[in-house]
């Protein structure tokens, strides 16, 4: 047939490459490719292969180009790679560029129609799928045909790189929550392309998958789902939100897991309110935290901007509430569907005046879950808002992880006085004031509305106040209060999750980072080690910075701060908090809208280190 006539198939003589290559799937947004890509990733996961899928998608409902990268790594490296060996070129408007990006010896899977318009290369393998013809052979009603068309590349990929068909069906069934009809409809197309590929194409590349046990006992999930699940186990009970990419699926996760917390009658212990905007969402969680709820909102940069005033109020009036910032690329509307770590400084200093917010910085699924529950304990213990700063890459992409550990600490509600405890407090101290620091840690005792004691009430305000919460414009009251708040932040420093440190190899170079760059750094460090360059590693888990960060900086001759924002914000924070002897601290800041690659870290560090 005509398709085969275009190439001279010759059997590949290269060494086989097994479970160690990456795909890029190029499609049009809204064409149903999300299901196809998820199916591929989950099928590889079910084969026991360490795998990671990253969706690089546009801010658009239908039509604009979108890419999905899938990396399989027998060695467990799951960072995005700069180059993918294989491209599924299903979008005619990007196909030529997609093919041009392949390394020599790469693979292009495309449709017969697109194949006609691609600028061809001699040094790669082509597989052309007659999509229209195959689709005509199906019994699928025309209304659904476009939606399942992308399953043709799933079938071709499965045949070419050896993914078992029965696994694909299992994953499809799970994807459609056990409903056979849509699963079968999709699977029919997969099988059609699978069989057609077997009958008509000759494999001319060295890549294939093989079952292994690299994912045994692991789970696959998005960071937003992990954080939401953590919140459910952390006792969240009031949720307010406003839709915004990439945080919307966090609340979808909460809605999905809400059932874990219903009583026998199906009544809810979690209220979830879609507010009129992020400002109202912030007000709702602050009101709830004030009244004794465990409240949470999830948003992204533009929402955080709107929440600034409430964040300052909650900091100053000392009200617990948890804010998730699933960071996307700013400034302004920026790149709304691209990842970034660019909100670090903004979130940490959110609010006018001298305010400083506690931030937790999860870098993987386990931490997303852990901070999901722990953030409430921290927030109530410190009587302060807590911002969990995640990002789009962690939030919306599928990651591999060990199963989550059940919370290892009981819930702590902080210094809350009920009527009895309030009386005891008064008996001991002679009086109670909302902002009296009797323990010397900057944290006072609060009462909740509804407490049946004649001295329980106080008046919460964002205006200047004395330790009895009474309005005061006196300078000494103001300074005393601000001094106590600073003391509270110092208490927080050592109470918050401490940095993860690897300093076992007697190295002179230290790498500092936060958040989701860990996989890429781990791989880059291995490459550097192969070149004889030993490195140590520290990942910050919380702000304000712990003293361990300073000690790490002092202990190394050369420090690189690796982060995925344009201005090097963690570097700036280190300079601010640790201004002495930091001429050896250098910034490796990226901020290109994409998850970081080991290639970039390796190249940049080698260049700077000379």
């Amino acid at each position: 047939m005509a398709i085969n006539a275009q190439t001279q198939p010759k059997l590949d003589t290269r060494e086989p490459v097994i479970n160690d290559f990456a795909f890029s799937v190029a499609t049009k947004n809204g064409s149903g490719s999300q299901t196809s890509n998820n199916v591929l990733v989950k099928a590889l996961f079910q084969m026991g292969i360490p795998v990671n899928g990253k969706n690089l998608f546009p801010s658009n409902i239908k039509g604009l180009p979108t890419w999905y990268t899938i990396r399989a790594s027998k060695d467990g490296y799951t960072a995005r790679k700069a180059l993918t060996e294989i491209v599924v070129a299903y979008n005619n408007s990007t196909a030529t560029e997609d093919v041009a990006n392949l390394p020599p010896g790469g693979v292009c899977i495309t449709t017969d129609k697109i194949a006609k318009v691609i600028r061809r290369r001699e040094d790669i393998s082509y597989y052309e799928i007659p999509v229209a013809k195959l689709m005509r052979q199906t019994e699928i009603p025309s209304a659904f045909r476009k939606l399942v068309e992308n399953m043709t590349y799933v079938g071709a990929v499965a045949q070419l790189f050896e993914i078992p068909l029965d696994l694909i069906y299992e994953v499809l069934l799970a994807n459609f929550k056990g409903r056979e009809k849509p699963a079968l409809m999709n699977h029919d197309v997969v099988k059609l392309a699978y069989d057609w590929t077997a009958d008509n194409l000759v494999k001319t590349d060295p890549y294939r998958f093989e079952r292994m046990d690299g994912a045994e006992g692991k789970i696959m999930m998005t960071g937003n789902d992990a954080g939401a699940l953590g919140a459910v186990f952390g006792g969240v009970n009031v949720v307010a939100w406003y839709p915004i990419t990439p945080s919307t699926s966090f609340v979808d996760g909460l809605i999905g897991f809400r059932g874990l917390r219903q009583n026998e009658g199906g009544e809810n212990t979690i209220a979830i309110v879609q507010a009129e905007d992020e400002l109202a969402a912030a007000g709702i969680v602050v009101g709830a935290g004030w009244a004794g709820g465990r409240s949470l909102t999830s948003t992204s940069g533009p929402g955080i901007s709107l929440m600034a005033e409430f964040a300052g109020l909650a900091y100053f009036a000392e009200i617990p509430a948890v804010f998730w910032n699933i960071t996307r690329m700013g400034p302004s509307t920026g790149l709304p569907t691209r990842t970034s770590q660019g909100d670090l400084l903004f979130t940490h200093f959110l609010g006018h005046g001298d305010s400083r917010q506690i931030c937790l910085l999860p870098g993987n699924l386990k931490e997303a879950f852990e901070f999901g529950w722990k953030s409430f304990d921290i927030s109530e213990s410190l009587q302060s808002p807590v911002f969990v700063v995640s990002d789009l890459d962690l939030g919306m992409n599928n990651w591999l992880s060990d199963p989550f550990d059940y919370p290892d600490q009981p819930m702590t509600r902080g210094k809350v006085l009920d009527a009895t405890a309030l009386q005891e407090f008064i008996d001991e101290h002679g009086k109670w004031g909302r902002y009296m620091d009797v323990d010397g840690d900057g944290i006072a005792y609060r009462t909740l509305p509804g407490t049946d004691h004649r001295f329980a009430a106080y008046f919460t305000r964002g205006t200047g106040h004395d330790e009895f919460a009474v309005y005061s414009e006196r300078s000494d009251d103001w300074v005393e209060n601000m001094t106590r708040l600073r003391l509270k932040m110092d208490t927080a420093r050592e109470m918050l999750p401490q940095p993860i440190i690897d300093d076992s190899s007697n190295a002179d170079i230290g790498i500092i980072t936060f958040g989701t760059n860990e996989d890429a750094i781990r791989e880059a460090r291995d490459w550097l080690a192969n070149d004889g360059i030993k490195t140590h590693y520290l990942r910050v888990l919380a702000l304000p910075l712990a003293s361990a960060v300073t000690e790490f900086i002092d202990a190394h001759k050369s420090i690189f701060v690796v982060e995925n924002n344009f201005d090097g914000q963690l570097t700036q924070l280190i300079r601010l908090e640790h201004p002495e002897n930091i001429s050896h601290v250098r910034s490796l800041a990226l901020g290109d809208g994409l998850p970081m690659t080991p290639d970039w870290i390796y190249d940049s560090l080698k260049e700077q280190e000379g």
Binding site: V286, G287, W290
Partner: protein, 348 residues
């Protein structure tokens, strides 16, 4: 002689707050006084009440009444969201919220409309004086078109009628009053606090410093001369027994009295004055308000009432215990629940 006490054995003094710091003669202080009387007369337990406000002169007032209740002076225009959160965390609390015409009609218009849409059960009092006091005399969005103020000249914008906005938003209890009409304010507060839904009271409350000239429709002289109550209002408690010699009933023709039954079995008894307004008729309420605005008629009283929709806590189908007081076992699912979720996400 010992002071008179209510059924909790409390004197009226015990419902007071801190001394007011507003200008002497401010209409807002009269409303605070009526709130004190309302809580005293009804024998409300202060620890079950929360007092919320936004920012502005009006929003300072929660410090001046019910000293035994938790209060929260929040952000400009954002009190409704704080009320929403507080009442979700503890649906057993009674919430009295105070706002102003700037706080509600300008910066807070979005939250005002949406808190009504969600039907958060609270008393939302707008202390409306048509002017920004703390920033010294700017027009607010409720100021009359053509009105003149000393520093800012003539207002060329038409006013926003907040009671009308409340009706349009779906509020099931909407009233307008005048801070100089203590009796009516008292009756409306007693009704509103019993209403299990958002209830809005737009109370014209003159600013003696910046907007009390006779030419202003938000002034004392104007209010005293022009207020036209729609009805005489009386609140009948659920256990109310009609006296045999009820004079007021005798004074009215049958059909001139509307008894609006409230959710808790109490009644708002409305005795008709010189008009046909029936607050159970939404169209009529909007007509009265539109005519009042157009012809500058100062109609006061209960404008609109309907059987409340489900509250937000109902819509959310929450458990009986207030969320803030759930115990750890209700807040954290057991270990097996997590293991189940993990199992479902694993290979094989």
């Amino acid at each position: 002689m010992p002071p008179r006490t209510n059924h909790l054995g409390l004197a009226r003094n015990e419902y007071k707050g801190r001394p007011s710091t507003l200008c002497p003669g401010c209409g807002h202080d009269s409303i605070s006084n009526q709130l004190i009387s309302m809580a005293y007369e009804l024998g409300l337990e202060q620890h079950k009440i929360i007092k919320l406000s936004g920012i502005g002169c009006s929003s300072k007032t929660p410090a001046y009444f019910l000293g035994g209740s938790h209060g929260f002076n929040a952000l400009h225009g954002r009190m409704p969201s704080v009320a929403t959160g507080a009442l979700l965390a503890n649906k057993d609390l009674t919430c009295i919220a105070v706002s102003g015409d700037g706080d509600t009609g300008s910066i807070g218009m979005g939250q005002f409309k949406h808190v009504i849409r969600r039907n958060v059960p609270f008393v939302y009092i707008i202390e409306n004086n048509g002017v920004y006091g703390l920033t010294k005399g700017q027009f607010s969005a409720t100021a009359d078109e053509g009105q003149f103020l000393k520093y800012y000249g003539t207002n060329h914008m038409p006013p926003i009628d907040l009671a009308l906005e409340a009706v349009i938003a779906g509020c099931t209890f909407v009233a307008r009053s005048f801070s100089g009409d203590a009796k009516q304010v008292q009756a409306l507060l007693q009704a509103a606090v019993r209403h299990p839904g958002a209830s809005v009271l737009d109370i014209i409350s003159p600013c003696v410093t910046f907007n009390n000239a006779e030419t202003s429709t938000k002034s004392y002289p104007y209010g005293k001369d022009h207020e036209i109550p729609l009805h005489e209002i009386q609140i009948l408690a659920p256990d109310y027994v009609e006296p045999k010699d009820e004079i007021s009933v005798g004074d009215y023709e049958a059909g001139d009295i509307i008894d609006v039954e409230m959710h808790d079995g109490s009644f708002i008894r409305l005795k008709k004055l010189d008009n046909d307004h029936d607050p159970r008729n939404r169209r009529m309420a909007m007509d009265v308000l539109e005519r009042s605005m157009r012809e500058q008629i100062f109609s006061t009283g209960l404008l609109y009432y309907e059987e409340p929709r489900p509250t937000l806590a109902d819509t959310e189908d929450l458990v009986d215990t207030p969320l803030a007081f759930l115990d750890d076992a209700e807040l954290r699912p057991p270990k097996q629940a997590l293991e189940g979720v993990m199992q479902s996400l694993m290979v094989g």
